[in-house]
Amino acid sequence: MADVTAPAPIAPAARAPKAHPFRDVLVKRLGFGILTLFIVSILVFAATQVLPGNAASAALQNTATPARLHALEIQMHLNRSAVAQYWSWLTGLLHGNFGTSIVNNASVSSLIGGRVLNTAVLMLLAGVIGTVIGVVLGMLAAARRDSWFDHGLSVIALAVTALPEFVVAMALVTFFAALVWHILPAVSVYPPGVSPWSIPSLLVLPVATLVIVIVPYTFRMMRAAMIDALESDYVEMAKLKGMSRWRVLAVHALPNAIAPTIQVIGLNFLYLAGGVVVVEYVFNYPGLGQALVNAVSDRDIPVIQFIVLLLAAFYVVVNIATDLISLAATPRRRLPRS
């Protein structure tokens, strides 16, 4: 049976090697991604096992009596072996049962559900706005290389790259919400059940903070890639045949400069996954990051486990997307190497 079917897939592959570069990359990356997530889930679970005492005594803290401890241990299945606990946790996750908060006994999915959307809105807005600003500024700086505009932007980028999110956030609050002007709210407290985009003024400062933090990376990469592209023969050719300056920039140089920048844009999105934690905390924005900080303060292990796993899954997905998009932006790499 195996002898009959085995040669079949090889024959077309030999005729047209790498006919499906997208599928190949997707399958390979997806495989690694699932493996990564599996190992991350083991690590996240193992973290709860090294807890001094156990999760039950940590949850009860000084309200622990032997009877309450015992009841909670049974509720949390702590009386079973570590492997059995891991297995029931993992199968629960795959069935959509994400566990129960130790602190208030609510299910993790009810605590986290709405927050995922809020954080997604924040990250997407910051990521998209930051990318557009970074790409445009990088293009302009490269087009006017060594002008005061270019030097000024480079110095600002160098300085801003190094700033922690909470420093940027406090600076923005100082200028726009507290000391200089009072045009924006200093915290983004949403009434329960209200979606973040329904009160846009509350989104301005958190998004602006994240944008300021990620723009320098995109800007610097874009500027460097654009300078490379502008020094190439095809741009020289386009200029010599009398094409307008902006057309050369947008039509010839930009598509070639964007490919290396896509990696940086991907990294920026990954960076946002960590950046939202502090920004949501500063502005009291009801998202995953704020939930994570609260859960860490309360040592609410099931909530922490789930959020960390969610962020790891985000990492895997963004990496795959980055690979596929940069493959799409670099036609050269799609050709068979022969």
Partner: protein, 313 residues
């Protein structure tokens, strides 16, 4: 015959040993540029404040001396904080732990990462695959989140935060070092040392590592900046030095409700952290420019913390 040729190659590459002080030379060249000089002086001032500050505090940093959020006055130059403690004293006292933690975490991360990266490049094969897979997995945790996970399990202990930040640096350092070491390991003098039967540890230490000096210096600077960022961030979130101790990140969080009443409680630590990271980044930039004779793109990619290895190979 092979070994005499190998010996000749090794002797001609003897400058590898003569360049033992290369890091000093690179640093010297870097601080003579305007960027390097600016970066070094900013970092120097902040480090000085943090280091000798605790000896200069006019009041105890944990003592209640006046009304909460009192405005700056002749006796309390920067006013008072949320509990009526002297902001100037707390600012002078609140930096050295951050700097010490960042320095140790950076050393841990860069040394650990460099060892992993060099070994992956030199031994290759299964070692390479194994090390790089582990790197991929650790990278799936955002740095801050990784530290938060450990803190949630073991509590906000100083050593734990240092360890967590160190571990979370190692993968990036390993990637960059591996990429650079792959080039070095291909070179003749490494081959020659191998042919002469030099043990792997010695080849790595005497032939490979000296040629990674500039790469590691840039990594050291970058990771130090990120260590300060993450540790100050954790402290801001309340997972660092615990109150009533003074710490810049913690001060910003404690005093931000009084931003209008007495802005100095927030501004002083914020400005110091900002100056420290900007200065550090500027200095690192100057070091990278002084040491790497590479194209602008690789240069910029490296400086923006992306690493020559890239996210995807």
């Amino acid at each position: 015959m092979a070994s005499s040729a190998a010996l000749a190659v090794l002797q001609s590459a003897g400058r590898g040993r003569a360049r033992r002080r290369e890091w000093a030379a690179v640093l010297g060249r870097a601080v003579r540029t305007p960027r390097g000089a600016t970066g070094l002086s900013i970092v120097g001032i902040v480090v000085l404040i943090a280091a000798i500050g605790p000896a200069l505090t006019p009041y105890s940093s944990t003592q209640f001396v006046t009304a909460p959020f009192a405005n700056p006055s002749g006796t309390f130059l920067l006013g008072a904080d949320v509990l009526g403690r002297d902001v100037l004293s707390r600012t002078l006292d609140g930096g050295w732990v951050l700097l010490l933690m960042a320095a140790v975490a950076t050393l841990l991360g860069v040394v650990g990462g460099a060892i992993c990266g060099v070994c992956a490049a030199y031994f290759g094969g299964h070692w390479d695959t194994l090390i790089m897979r582990i790197v991929d997995i650790v990278l799936a945790f955002p740095q801050l989140v990784f530290a938060l996970l450990l803190v949630s399990v073991l509590g906000p202990k100083i050593w734990l935060i240092v360890l967590a930040v160190g571990i979370s640096h190692a993968p990036q350092v390993a990637r960059v070092t591996r990429a650079a070491a792959l080039d070095v390991c291909e070179r003749d003098f490494v081959r020659a040392a191998q042919i002469l039967g030099m043990p792997a540890r010695r080849v790595l230490r005497r032939e490979v590592l000296p040629n990674l000096t500039s790469v590691l210096m840039v990594e050291l600077g970058l990771r130090l900046t990120y260590s300060i960022l993450v540790i100050a961030g954790l402290s801001f979130l309340g997972f660092g030095l615990q109150p009533p101790a003074a710490s810049w990140g913690l001060m910003i969080n404690e005093n931000r409700i009084g931003l209008v009443a007495n802005p100095w409680g927030v501004l002083a630590p914020t400005l110091l952290i900002a100056a420290l990271t900007i200065g550090m980044n500027t200095l690192t930039d100057a070091v990278a420019r002084a040491s790497l004779g590479v194209g602008r793109q690789a240069d910029d990619a490296l400086l923006s913390g992306i690493s020559a290895a890239g996210a995807v190979q």
